[in-house]
Amino acid sequence: MTSTQENDILAAGTRAPDFDLPAGPDQRVSLRSLRGRPVILAFYPADFSPVCGDQMALYNESLEEFAEYDAHIVGVSVDGPWCHLAYAKDRKLKFPLASDFEPKGEVSRAYGVYDEKWGTSKRALFVIDAEGIIRWSYLSPIDENPGAHGILGALDEMKEHAA
């Protein structure tokens, strides 16, 4: 695999590129609309991965914890809105899944987490502060659920800084 400069995952300190994507058939989610509170972006390769280790199901279960930081989470993959809808229904997800579908992978590319070979987003996490600055990013091995501890650690650190 080649790793060029533009392919590198955006690092802490970078302004998070804005996006405005469909989140289901008749909704949209933009980073701008979430400004003023921390945002967790979870890029992942595809809807419907094996259940027990399912990253999105884990985050769904963690919403209470994220809410304690007033943080919003958005999942992002290249799956279309109808696929996201079916997946969200199946897993009873209560947070938005954005479709980086048209032009395909544009937002994933902007964040440096597009996998050219597979044509999907990589598995990557970003914690963005209320001003829209990336405060933590992490590129996970594609087949490993990165869990929530990195996200919670980053949110903790942001809270300490703010205090």
Binding site: A12, V51, C52, G53, D54, Q55, A57, L58, N60, E61, S62, E65, R91, K92, L93, W136, Y138, S140, E144, N145, P146, G147, A148, H149, G150, L152, G153, A154, E157
Partner: protein, 184 residues
């Protein structure tokens, strides 16, 4: 940020609050974060039993709750049933029954298991619907999240997350390895 993503460690140390089998001063402490409805945890259940048998007193096994309620609708209440049994000193009896009967985790089943292991049934039923045990299960879950639990089952060997296969041979080897390390 100094976050070691590669070897997450147990964020909540094992304490008297935990359900444990084996001596507190055992060379190895194996902590499992599990979900009673998860089939992979069901598969790991006999594996843990076999490891306990092999290791004897050199192993302490601790079980903590990590129910993924989103995909397992009975996981939360099953975890509460185990905690309610613990309040009557019978955590492990309930724990075993739950894993041996993963297809029967509705409240009516839990009630039957409570009777089977001789719990005071009125107290059990009241405990099952009380907030206390739901809160306790949630505490386990939160500690798990902080520790890097990313699915179930997740094991920690002497507080370091085990990332290998959850089959007997590799897990036993890792536990034995930790015991050897302790000796040196």
């Amino acid at each position: 940020m100094k976050l070691d993503q590669h070897a997450p460690r147990l964020a909540v140390p094992v304490s008297a609050r935990d359900h444990a089998q084996g001596p507190a001063d055992a060379a190895v402490t194996l902590v499992e974060y599990g979900d009673y409805e998860c089939p992979y945890c069901g598969k790991a259940y006999p594996v843990v039993k076999a490891i306990q048998q092999r290791m004897g007193d050199s192993l302490r096994f601790v079980f903590r709750n990590f129910p993924i309620n989103t995909v397992h609708e009975h996981a939360g209440v099953a975890a509460q049933a185990a905690e309610a049994a613990a309040a009557q000193g019978k955590f492990w009896e309930m724990h075993d029954l739950l894993y041996e009967n993963q297809d029967g985790l509705a409240e009516v089943d839990l009630h039957q298991y409570a009777l089977k292991i001789g719990l005071e049934i009125y107290r059990f039923d009241a405990d099952l619907s009380s907030e206390i045990f739901a809160r306790r299960v949630r505490e386990d879950f939160r500690g798990g999240l902080r520790s890097g639990v990313n699915g179930t089952p997740t094991f920690f060997i002497n507080a370091v997350r085990y990332n290998g296969e959850k089959e007997l041979d590799p897990l036993l080897a890792a536990v034995q390895g930790a015991a050897e390390e302790k000796k040196e």
